[in-house]
Amino acid sequence: MILTPDDWEVIRLSLKVAIVGVVLTLPVAFALAYVLARGRFPGRILLDAVVHLPLVLPPVVTGWILLILFGRAGPIGGWLDRAFGVTLMFRWTGAALAAAVMALPLMVRAMRLSIEAVDRRLEGAARSLGASPWRAFRTVTLPLSLPGVWAGLVLGFARSLGEFGATISFVSNIPGQTRTLPIAIYTALQLPDGDSTIVRLALVSVALSLGALIASEWLVRRQGGRAHVL
């Protein structure tokens, strides 16, 4: 099987969108996971629901909401444009934002389970040994919840690679900017001679997703972790 230059462009773009989206989401997702796992405050259930919204909303609706918020006339998009001259519309950065929003609930879920599984008495032991709350977090809570961080990264990456509905309604289908793997496959489906493109890109999708799962399992095993992604 030989990939055409167009295929390579789609693959490079998809990887860029998924990696940037997931890496930028990581700290946000971990902070949300920590707050939801440990925090007791009014509005926690509402925050939990809002974080999970992209999981249950039709993706097209999520994309439309992003369009309203981040479009050039939108409250956030307009501010980004005026303050930094940044626009997300019809750009790969907008595709990365859509991927990030869609991946967020899966990442938060995986990390939250892992944080909830950390024995809080170990943090007490760390404090009694002279650790500040921050050092106890850094040296005990964080390393013990790493398996969930890896699981969240992989799930988020796989979800981002597959992102379709929110992306196409938010930033459309622009070759080289927003035409990621699923959108390229969808485009090929519309063409009378698209069959061979579909087969190639579908096989690439399988290979990338499988590779991500195996890589994360390897990482977890190497750390001697007991929690597994697979």
Binding site: A125, L129, P143, G224
Partner: protein, 203 residues
């Protein structure tokens, strides 16, 4: 006075109230399980806040009179009933967790010799037996520069021979380091052997 404790705390249905002062090397808190002995240790270590009262060790007020030091400022060498070693760190890193950068009263080598830990340093906590884990927990507490030791049933999960071995270690620590020790137990024989003063806790 090594320990001056006068605290009360309501935990659900149970009311824990205890008052004692002791100047012995080893003070035993003796009472049946469920009488709140571990909660009293947690209050002294700063992991549980009393509703009212005062805690002082070696003349320093840790709680009460407007003071409530965080656990890391109390310098308690707390040995938990279940060892509570960090599962993601090898024995050596567990031992050194509280050692900090500065001078320590005891060195790693001294603790390793005292407690017979030489063969364990590169092992993971999950591969240790109950007695080995308990010895590491005692060593970790000693290396954190403690001003006093809190030992919560350190022999509970051990067989007779191991328990005897650990008790000998505790006697050595008591005589070599001269740290005030508060020792929680429900076993009369342990208490009689180790303690200079016994505080009975009723349910």
């Amino acid at each position: 006075m090594s320990f001056e404790v006068d605290v009360a705390k309501r935990l659900g249905e149970a009311e824990i109230a205890v008052s004692f002062a002791s100047d012995a090397g080893v003070t035993a808190l003796f009472g049946p399980s469920g009488s709140g002995k571990s909660s009293i240790l947690n209050m002294i270590a700063g992991l549980l806040t009393p509703d009212r009262g005062r805690i002082a060790v070696g003349g320093q007020t840790l709680f009460g009179e407007g003071v409530n030091l965080p656990p890391e400022a109390r310098h308690a060498g707390y040995v938990f009933q279940d060892g509570r070693l960090f599962p993601h760190l090898k024995v050596r890193a567990n031992l050194l967790y509280g050692a900090g950068q500065g001078e320590t009263a005891v060195t790693l080598k001294e603790v390793v010799d005292l407690l017979g830990l030489g063969a364990l340093l590169d092992r993971w906590p999950r591969t240790l037996s109950g007695g080995e884990a308990q010895r590491v927990a005692i060593g970790r507490a000693l290396l954190s520069n403690p001003r006093f030791l809190l030992l919560d049933e350190p022999l509970a999960s051990l067989d007779r021979a191991r328990a005897d071995e650990i008790m000998t270690m505790i006697e050595r620590v008591r005589d070599a380091l001269k740290l005030p020790i508060l020792y929680v137990s429900h076993n009369r024989a342990e208490v009689d052997r180790l303690a200079g003063q016994v505080v009975a806790i009723r349910r």
